[in-house]
Subunit: 330 residues, 2 copies
């Protein structure tokens, strides 16, 4: 392993960035040597969760979904006492930088990978319904695990599908990264969600309206009011629910079906784009209102100088038009 | 032209996004048909500024640097009265969206393109010193123009070099986008810069230190405390100066030389990456402290689900290591 990951703080811009040299060591695997396929379990760290055929041994064949620590983790749990950071302790100056405003904090956290199919499948929309439902259950179970663990403040489950979305392995997989603190953008969103739940009212107002894409008994599929990319779409529970880790067994199956259908629509309507899937759920210690959701971000456009210089994104497709295209893409 | 550009606001997340369908119509030009080369002036809108050989006619051959309105502009000046927006008037609800929190505002502003060479050169570092200095002078002159115009609140000059940086034309060019309001991230940075000038102290503290890359009489080249990408580097004037548009003639030449040298170092040290160049300058109506700078962002890594879900970036190279590599890349 290389130099341990660190948060660096920039008092000039208010920015914080995680510097993690180990992430740069991720290899590109030639075709036929996929480390995520069944039979290659020795190429990943020992599993922390697996849904397996009865009687099959841990870290061997026979699994449907398998969760392992990320070998090229952006954060590590062995770098200090996360409890101290949750309190918001001030970062410490970088050693040997007298007079410099450089500040750092250890890159504490967990990083896990969800292997979503024993066979070499590359698209979530092509997984079977039961395979996709197992992936959703695994996301829920690991979020619940880290919620109950008590050392972390926030965790994000996400999927990068395709190189334009940041994937370095094409085997269908997703990730969890958990950190002691709540990211500022997440804290701001949580603040805006109260004092009632703004999402509950929004979902009710938009169902059947110009941003409506699809729905099931329990879930609404909507384009957001200010989409960041052409075809950005959200899946939200119709009923109030802050934490993804409280998902029931039937809800997991229904959510998998709705998400597969949405991804097939995005594939048809927007030219088979690479995409990010993001599970937005409440911070672990937050008791106020929030409403979990899944975000799909098709990556058909590139951020450029304007976006990095101003923080303001430019999208080329209005959300009403994107919803119209997605509704028609059955 | 398609539907007029609009800002859309998302009260759920606090996000604002510019939706601009015309941006999606940008064509890809086959080799040999570059619309930015000398002799093809009819393929761009009439010039708003050009540095030309004595006696050469506007919009014909004979120019060294030429500035034209962007044919695929993200914002337009004919959509309303920008003066009203500078005051921070509340956005209006989207028509036909009763009960919906969708809010919009006209996409007012200007978008210009700087053609930085009459010949088909694709890399700023390969421009001659006088050609690069002319580009820097053009950036200054157009920022000064829009400052004096009085209708805009902020303008950004930036360059996207290479497809990974968002360029759709490979001929060496840069852009200016100006808008009536100050982007929130820029307003926050301006707020942090006071009440003294934090940049003045930082430049003095880092010169010759672990983040030092290079310097000239008037300029410091430093890696920032929390770089967003491997090799991110800033060029700052050593003396306090909030506004890029006040650059003197000798300073323009010196800045061009320092920037060309830095881009050559980035090219050698980081594998010839595509990059964004950003000119950060004070908002037009801001009287408080700020310190202009040029940022170079090598685009060797891709933002993925974690970044879009949390707003937190992951970089793989510490700034001290990047500065070491850049110092050695002479």
């Amino acid at each position: 392993m290389g130099q341990a990951p660190e948060w660096r703080f920039d008092p000039l811009t208010g920015r914080r960035v995680l510097i993690s040299p180990d992430r740069g060591d991720r290899p590109i695997h030639p075709t036929g040597t996929c480390p995520f396929c069944e039979g290659r379990e020795a190429e990943t760290p020992p599993e922390v969760l697996a849904f397996r055929a009865p009687g099959s041994a841990p870290n061997g064949a026979g699994w449907r979904v398998r969760v392992v620590p990320n070998r090229y983790a952006a954060v590590r749990l062995d770098l200090g006492e996360p409890g101290a950071l949750v309190t918001g302790a001030a970062p410490t100056p970088v050693a040997n930088a007298p007079g410099s405003p450089r500040l750092r904090e250890a890159g504490i956290g967990v990083a896990e990978v969800f292997l979503e199919s024993p066979r070499h499948e590359t698209a979530f929309r092509n997984l079977s319904q039961s395979q996709a439902a197992d992936a959703v259950r695994a996301w829920r179970d690991r979020l619940r695990h880290w919620h109950d663990d008590g050392r972390l403040g926030f965790a994000l489950v996400f999927k990068n599908e395709g190189p334009a979305a940041g994937a370095s392995v094409d085997h269908c997989h997703s990730q969890l990264i958990g950190v002691p603190v709540v990211p500022p953008a997440v804290a701001e969103e949580v603040r805006l969600a109260g004092p009632g739940c703004v999402f509950c009212g929004w979902v009710a107002a938009e169902l059947g309206g110009p941003l409506h894409v699809a729905e099931s008994d329990g879930f609404a599929v909507l384009c957001p009011p200010a989409p960041r990319f052409p075809g950005e779409t959200w899946v939200l529970p119709k009923a109030h629910g802050p934490a993804f880790e409280t998902l029931s067994e039937p809800e997991a199956g229904e959510l998998a079906a709705v998400t597969r259908d949405l991804l097939a629509r995005v594939h048809r309507a927007f030219g088979g784009p690479d995409f990010n899937l993001i599970v937005k759920s409440t911070p672990f210690r937050h008791a106020g209102p929030y409403h979990w959701r899944i975000e799909i971000l098709p990556r058909t456009t590139t951020t450029a100088g304007w976006e990095w210089g101003t923080g303001l994104l430019i999208n080329t497709v209005f959300p009403e038009r994107a919803a119209e295209l997605l509704r028609a893409a059955t």
